[in-house]
Subunit: 430 residues, 2 copies
């Protein structure tokens, strides 16, 4: 059914145009799956539409924006949210994260992903880019919740908790891609973990799979100073130079973090049209030290977006919050308040294109709260004043999935069951 | 009426003890105004209380914490929220903030303060420390909303938009203190603006007033590199040394920011038991550059708390968000994830003592949200996962002011009227 949102106080579109007192009409052609979004005044009166054929949403005291996109995360780590914080990275991984991840079954990952997808939907995130083992369970949870997932099949030389054999992993990765490549709201992806956990051969094989099926590649890149220095010492190249030398860089590559990179490396990324996902909250929480070179990236025209990273190093999946953290971090880092401006971070937050989804989703923010008043500049209020809980309505591919802050397809009983399952799963953690 | 909160999932007290499956009983002696808070299991059954004499609140899927305290802010700047962002500090002040502040009447300030007090109440802030002109209007708004306010009467050598004459200002400040000193939930305070806007004589007179009436002093200190360098060049002293030299430092002094200070200055602040309010969000947004030396402050035992600063440089009044920003900033700044740990920032957020209020308030967080599940460590979920909108119930001095996320004493019509008034006020802004 087509959706008409009437009398919105504000709307911001994907090009950051701002509209006041406007209607939005969302129509979906069921044959072509094409979504059209029209904005204008009195759309009902002007069109030949019949009220009976429409789902009508009251836009009073609301602001419409495009769907938010969480472009680097590990969703099932919801299960590990808050299990350990304020620790040195290596201790945190070795003592708390890896041992407990080793205990997870596919079913556990499914429930963790379900919880995370619901959190994202609640917070207006309509598409994400994930990397975690048991990716087929993440697909299952994503389809159940109804948002759009770019789901990476993770490849690590020494295996994942799901499968310890590299050849088998690569084989399973291909099967995974074949199984889900036709899905409308799922993009299966090859996800070699990082240059310090995947050999040259592994990266090359991943690239070959991605080329064969025309899917994206997703990898971690230059997140910590240690991995960069180690590589420089071993082979005399920095990670970006290395990935270029083995032919991995290209416009189908999504790289997360890129906090320890030089201006030269930024130019290399730009030359190959690599997509970079900025995860400021996680980088700060893990004290990575480096800061993604925002100004240099923008100058060179690198495609940028935002990611929360996993909820164990954030500890939530809130892109509205991440926008503010990004804006603040870059101002503080450069002693320059003009950096990380409102338009820049909004563009990053709306960028689902770089993970393979056209952004034709609509999120409504509830402006009926003291902290979102007055409105001098609605874009400022979105970036600096709002948080995920201000999301009121979420429409994904022409379907209402959240309305009045309630899940449309999921009732309280079902939600309680998920919480209950999650509580059972974490009993086995140390 | 006494209040019983039954079957809370979690409670965190002022000393950061964590309780599970507990009741909280809040009793208020109307004669002595003393509040008692008892925690335990099955309190109704164990006590001689009659259900009829109690307000009973269901604690299921909730976590109780002490009231949050916003220890440095300029509340009526809600009116300027989002009017300008991403600008160089001096341009921002000269072109956007000061000219528009000059247009504000007492009535305007009242409505701005009303909006800000409601925002704080909604976000679980039960006490604040403010500095803004027309402070009597801020008192009026605070009393109407019912939270507790330490309200500074601002002193600037060249006057405020309310009064341009310094002698008159100091006179009015005394009158202000006399008028409100007996109020239970208001602490009137002398607020010399900053060492670069107040002369030595002014500071000395402010100190004398504060001593005569035994009230607190509230000032900005070492917020920007410029003011510190300027003073060093002029008089060969840094701001903390200067305030010590003129006898202003003491345990009744609350200083905001302190981002450009040396280890020696930290020791001086500690020696005089000066209270420091950390405003990480505002410092980052304005690109102040300096970072409050958290580790050194803690080492020297300085009393620390958190402030949002004004909503024009934040742009909200959310101490739950500010906790996370504080934790992230210090980790990133020192490349050390153990800094700005959960306990440290919680202690700062609960510290209403340093602005003169015993913390005997209770805030309930709603844990019935995907982003607050599971709970490995409730304190971590509060700091890293929650935001102001997760606050469900607020009890100030034994009185329920927010329940089920709705204001108890303020209805929708009244709220709409405030929004309407605020919209009218900002029409005169440039």
């Amino acid at each position: 059914m087509d959706i008409l949102i009437r009398d919105l106080d504000y709307a911001v579109d994907i090009n950051l145009n701002v509209y006041k007192n406007i209607d939005i009409l969302i129509r979906r052609d069921e044959d072509s799956k094409k979504i059209s979004i029209d904005r204008g005044r009195n759309l009902l009166e002007k069109s030949n539409l019949d009220k009976k054929d429409l789902k009508i949403i009251d836009g009073d005291k609301k602001c419409a924006l495009p769907g938010l996109s969480n472009n680097h995360t590990h969703i099932p780590m919801t299960l590990l949210r808050g299990i350990a914080d304020d620790m040195i990275l290596q201790e945190w991984l070795r003592e708390k994260i890896w041992p407990n991840e080793g205990r997870l079954t596919g079913e556990d990952v499914y429930y963790g992903a379900l919880l995370g997808c619901l959190e994202m939907l609640r917070f207006g995130i309509t598409s994400f880019n994930d990397m975690y083992f048991f990716p087929e369970e993440i697909v299952r949870a994503t389809k159940e919740v109804g948002i759009k997932g770019t789901v990476g099949f993770p490849i690590i030389d020494f295996g994942t908790p799901q499968c310890k054999d590299l050849d088998k992993l690569l084989n399973n990765c291909e099967k995974f891609i074949k199984e889900y490549i036709a899905e409308e709201k799922i993009n299966p992806v090859v996800a070699p973990h990082a240059p310090y956990t995947c050999s040259k051969d592994t990266y090359v094989q991943c690239r070959e799979i991605s080329q064969e099926y025309n899917v994206l590649l997703h990898t971690h890149l230059s997140e910590t100073r240690y991995e960069v220095v180690e590589m420089e010492n071993k082979i005399g190249m920095r990670p970006v130079e290395y990935l270029e030398s083995i032919g991995i860089l290209g416009d189908n590559l999504i790289t997360a973090h890129c906090v320890w990179i030089t201006k030269e490396e930024v130019k290399i990324l730009a030359k190959h049209r690599v997509k970079v996902v900025h995860c400021p909250g996680s980088n700060m929480k893990l004290a990575s030290g480096g800061v993604m070179p925002l100004v240099e990236m923008l100058r060179e025209g690198v495609s940028l977006s935002l990611g929360t990273d996993g909820p164990a190093s954030n500890n939530n999946l809130d892109i509205l919050e991440e926008m503010k953290i990004a804006a603040l971090l870059h101002k503080a880092h450069r002693w320059d308040p003009t950096v990380g401006d409102v338009d820049t971070v909004l563009r990053m937050a709306f960028n689902s294109e770089s993970i393979g989804f056209e952004n034709r989703d609509i999120v409504l923010l509830d402006l009926n709260s003291p902290h979102l008043r007055p409105v001098h500049n609605i874009k400022s209020n979105i970036v600096y004043s709002a948080n995920g809980n201000d999301v009121d309505t979420v429409i994904v591919e022409g379907e209402v999935l959240l309305e009045n802050k309630k899940f449309s397809k999921i009732d309280d009983k079902y939600l309680r069951n998920i919480y209950h399952k999650v509580n059972s799963i974490i009993k086995k953690f140390n």
